[in-house]
C-alpha cells in the first residue's frame, strides 16, 4: 500500500458515498445497542428497501454519538433523532421523501451538550462505520502512518509528539514524547514491543471502550506510528474481556488492515514491519498498572513488580516496551496530520489537547464527551451535563475512579487539567466522571471505593492487602453507626501508611477517595460517629434501625 494507493481508496470511497443523496447513521455502540438500536437499524434498512429508496439512501451502523442517555440515536443527513424505536422507521424514511423532519424525535444539537465539545479523538465516532476500513481511509485514515514511514525519520516523529505536549491519557499524565524517546533510545537486544492498555477497569469509565468500538483503526494507526518511532515490530492490545463488541471490532479492524497491508511486513514498501495481536484481560483492576499488565500479557497472574527497571528498559519478556493508553494512541494520528505545534495550542499551559470523559451518575445528560483541557468542572456538569435531575442538589463530582477523589461545589470552577485536579486531592484519571447529589452518603461512597480496592488488591504487598481491608472494616463500622472519633483518627493514619508504602499505583492511590471525602465532607463522618445517623439516609445505622 503506497500513499497514492491509499488516496485512491479514499477517493473511490468518497465517490461511492456521494452517490447516495441520503445517509442514515444508526449508533450501534454499546450504550445505544442495549437500548435497542440493533432492531432500529434492521427496521430502517427494511423500510428503505420497501419504499424503493435503496439506491438513494444508505443505512449504516456507526459508533458512539455521545448522548447515550437519549439512545438509540440516529442521524438522517446530519439531523439527529433521539429515543428512536423500530416503529419510528416509517416516519423517518418518509421524512427523507418529503423533506419534513420528524419533529417528535428531534434532538437539539444546538444544546450546550453538543456545542461546548471539541472533538478530536472522537472526530470519527458516530460518523464512520467502524467495521469498514474504507470509511476510515476516506476520513484521512492511515495517511499519517504512511506519511510518517515514507517521509519522516523515527526521531522526527518523536519530535512532533514531544512538541505537541501530549501527556498520557491513562491518568498519570506522564509526557508521551518523553516516554517514546526513552524507548527509542533503549538498546535491549533485537526486539521492542508496543502495548496498548485497553484494560479499562475503572468502574464508571467507558471512554476507551467507546473509542475501540467506534474508531478502532485510529488506535491501530496510532500504535503503528508509535512502533515506527521507537523501533518496535510487535504490538499487543490488552483489552477487557467484558467488552465483547470492542474486541470484535478490533479483531475485524486488524484483519482488514493486514489485508490492505497497512499492518504486516514491509509496510508501504519500506523496511518497517508491524504486527498487532489482541490479548484479553480477565477482570483484574490491577492489570491497568503497566508491570502487572505485562505479566498478564505473558500469561501469568497480573501482579506488579517494583520499578525501576521501567518497561521502557525492561518490559515484555525483558525487552524495551512502550505502553500507552487507548486515548493516548488515538491522539497520535491527528498530531502527525496537523503537527505537534497545532496540537499544543489547544488546552492549558501544562495540559495540552482535549480529554474524553465518561459523564455519568446523577446528571441529566449522561454519555461520552470530549472537551478541551482547562474547561471548568462547572461547565462540564451544569452546561454540558445539564445539571442535576429531579430537583436535587449537587454534592460532589468523583473523578479518577477508585484512585481519585471527590470534589465539592467549592472547587467547581477549577479548570480541568492534571495539576489542578491533583491540587484538590483528586486525579485526572482515565476520564470517569461520576456526579453525586444529596441522596448519596459520602461515607458510603468512600466505603464503596475501598471495598473495590480491597477486593482488587493483588495481595503482593502488605500495606495494600492488609491496609485496604482494615480501612474497609473501619468504614463499615462507621456506616453501621458504631464508629468512634478514634476510628476516624486511625483511618487517617492508615491512609497515610497505605499511600506511602504500597508497591504500585493501586495501593498508593487507594486512600484518595477516603482522604478527599474526609477533607470536604467530614461533617458526614462526624454525624455517623456522634449521632449514629446518616444525613443522606443511605447507611442503615443503629438509629435508622430503631426508627424502623
Amino acid at each position: 500500500m503506497t500513499p497514492e494507493e491509499l488516496n485512491e481508496i479514499a477517493v473511490t470511497e468518497k465517490e461511492a458515498q456521494s452517490r447516495f443523496p441520503h445517509h442514515v447513521c444508526v449508533c450501534t455502540a454499546a450504550g445505544c445497542l442495549s437500548a435497542g438500536s440493533g432492531e432500529v437499524k434492521k427496521a430502517l434498512a427494511k423500510e428503505v428497501i420497501e419504499s424503493g429508496m435503496q439506491h438513494e439512501c444508505k443505512v449504516k451502523g456507526v459508533g458512539c454519538m455521545g448522548l447515550c442517555s437519549a439512545g438509540p440515536l440516529v442521524t438522517v443527513d446530519g439531523r439527529m433523532y433521539q429515543n428512536v424505536t423500530a416503529d419510528d422507521s416509517t416516519d423517518i424514511v418518509r421524512s427523507m421523501e418529503d423533506g419534513k423532519p420528524v419533529k417528535r424525535l428531534e434532538c437539539n444539537t444546538k444544546a450546550p451538550f453538543f456545542t461546548r465539545q471539541t472533538k478530536m479523538v472522537l472526530e470519527n465516532s458516530g460518523v464512520i462505520d467502524p467495521e469498514r476500513i474504507e470509511d476510515y481511509i476516506a476520513a484521512d485514515g492511515y495517511s499519517a502512518l504512511l506519511n510518517a514511514i515514507t517521509e519522516m525519520r523515527p526521531n522526527e516523529v518523536v519530535d512532533q509528539v514531544i512538541k505537541s505536549g501530549l501527556r498520557g491519557r491513562g491518568g498519570a499524565g506522564y509526557p508521551t514524547g518523553l516516554k517514546w524517546s526513552t524507548v527509542a533510545k533503549a538498546s535491549g537486544g533485537a526486539m521492542k514491543y508496543v502495548i496498548c492498555n485497553a484494560d479499562e477497569g475503572d468502574p464508571g469509565a467507558f471512554m476507551d471502550r467507546a473509542v475501540l468500538e467506534s474508531d478502532p483503526h485510529r488506535v491501530l494507526e496510532g500504535m503503528a506510528i508509535a512502533a515506527y518511532a521507537v523501533g518496535a515490530t510487535r504490538g499487543y492490545i490488552y483489552v477487557r474481556a467484558e467488552y465483547p463488541l470492542a474486541v470484535k471490532n478490533l479483531r475485524t479492524a486488524i484483519r482488514h488492515a493486514e489485508k490492505l497491508e497497512l499492518l504486516g511486513n514491509d509496510i508501504a514498501g519500506t523496511r518497517f514491519s508491524f504486527r498487532v495481536e489482541v490479548r484479553l484481560g480477565a477482570g483484574a483492576f490491577v492489570c491497568g498498572e503497566e508491570t502487572a499488565l505485562i505479566a498478564s500479557v505473558e500469561g501469568k497472574r497480573g501482579t506488579p513488580r517494583p520499578r525501576p527497571p521501567y518497561p521502557a528498559q525492561q518490559g515484555l519478556w525483558g525487552h524495551p516496551t512502550l505502553i500507552n493508553n487507548v486515548e493516548t494512541f488515538a491522539n497520535v494520528p491527528v498530531i502527525l496530520r496537523k503537527g505537534g505545534e497545532w496540537f499544543s495550542k489547544i488546552g492549558t499551559a501544562k495540559s495540552k489537547g482535549t480529554k474524553v470523559f465518561a459523564l455519568a451518575g446523577r446528571v441529566k445528560n449522561t454519555g461520552l464527551i470530549e472537551v478541551p483541557m482547562g474547561i471548568p468542572l462547572r461547565e462540564i456538569i451544569f452546561d454540558i451535563g445539564g445539571g442535576i435531575p429531579d430537583g436535587r442538589n449537587f454534592k460532589a463530582v468523583q473523578t479518577g475512579g477508585p484512585s481519585g477523589g471527590c470534589i465539592p461545589e467549592a472547587h467547581l470552577d477549577l479548570p480541568v487539567d492534571y495539576e489542578s485536579l491533583a491540587k484538590v486531592g483528586s486525579i485526572m484519571g482515565s476520564g470517569g466522571m461520576i456526579v453525586t447529589d444529596d441522596s448519596s452518603c459520602m461515607v458510603d461512597v468512600a466505603k464503596y471505593f475501598i471495598e473495590f480496592c480491597m477486593s482488587e488488591s493483588c495481595g503482593k504487598c502488605v500495606p495494600c492487602r492488609v491496609g485496604t481491608t482494615h480501612l474497609h472494616n473501619l468504614l463499615e463500622k462507621i456506616c453501621r453507626g458504631e464508629g468512634t472519633e478514634k476510628d476516624i483518627a486511625t483511618i487517617e493514619e492508615l491512609c497515610d501508611v497505605v499511600r506511602n508504602t504500597s508497591l504500585c499505583g493501586l495501593g498508593q492511590s487507594a486512600p484518595n477517595p477516603i482522604m478527599s471525602t474526609l477533607n470536604y465532607f467530614r461533617h458526614e463522618y462526624t454525624a455517623h460517629v456522634k449521632d449514629a445517623s446518616c444525613p443522606a439516609g443511605v447507611c442503615i445505622t443503629a438509629r435508622a434501625k430503631e426508627a424502623k
Binding site: 447515550c68 480477565a282 483484574a284 501469568k300 497472574r301 461520552l368
Partner: protein
C-alpha cells in the same frame, strides 16, 4: 529434550477441539495460558479441574501456575453457572443509581446472593465491576442482553421469566 506424549483431552466432548485449536494457534506456548482459559470458559461456562490439568500438560506450565491464574482473575469461575445468568453491574454509576436495591430484591425474591445459583439450577446471580453502560445505569445483563434503567420490580420480573420456563 524429553519428548512427552501429547496429552489427551479430559473427555470426547467436541468442545475440547475449540480449546485445542486455541492452544495450537498460539503454538502451545505458556503465554497463551489466559487465552486458553478464556476459550474453556467460553465453551463450557466454567473451568473444571480436569480441564486445568489438561491445559497445564498441553502448555507445559506448572499446574500451580494454571490454578493461580484461574483463581486470580475475576472473570474466571470454577463453579458451574445456572442455565441462565443474570449479571448485575456494580460499577460506580450503577451503585449510586440503585444497584444495591436490585441485589436486595433478588435476594428477597429468590434467596440468592451474588455468586449463587437457585437450587433447581435455572438461574445464577452474578455481579460485574462495570459493564461500561454507565449512562443507562443501573444495568443488568440477562444472558447476553444488556438492560438499563432497571428498577427492583423489573429486575425480579425479568429474572422470573428465566426461572419459570425456558426463555
Amino acid at each position: 529434550m524429553i519428548m512427552l506424549a501429547k496429552p489427551s483431552a479430559p473427555s470426547n466432548d467436541k468442545r475440547w477441539k475449540i480449546v485445542e485449536a486455541t492452544m495450537r494457534r498460539n503454538g502451545y506456548q505458556g503465554n497463551a495460558l489466559i487465552e486458553t482459559l478464556h476459550s474453556i470458559q467460553e465453551a463450557f461456562g466454567y473451568l473444571e479441574p480436569e480441564g486445568l490439568r489438561f491445559v497445564a500438560e498441553s502448555l507445559r506450565v506448572p499446574l500451580s501456575q494454571v490454578y493461580g491464574a484461574a483463581t486470580f482473575y475475576h472473570f474466571f469461575t470454577m463453579k458451574p453457572p445456572g442455565k441462565h445468568t443474570c449479571v448485575v453491574c456494580t460499577g460506580t454509576a450503577c451503585y449510586i443509581n440503585g444497584a444495591p436495591a436490585l441485589l436486595a430484591a433478588m435476594e428477597e425474591k429468590y434467596g440468592i446472593k451474588p455468586g449463587e445459583t437457585v437450587p433447581d439450577g435455572e438461574l445464577s446471580l452474578l455481579t460485574a465491576r462495570c459493564v461500561g453502560s454507565c449512562s443507562i445505569a443501573p444495568v443488568a445483563v440477562f444472558d447476553k442482553d444488556v438492560v438499563g434503567k432497571l428498577g427492583p420490580s423489573d429486575m425480579v420480573a425479568r429474572a422470573g421469566k428465566y426461572k419459570c420456563h425456558d426463555a
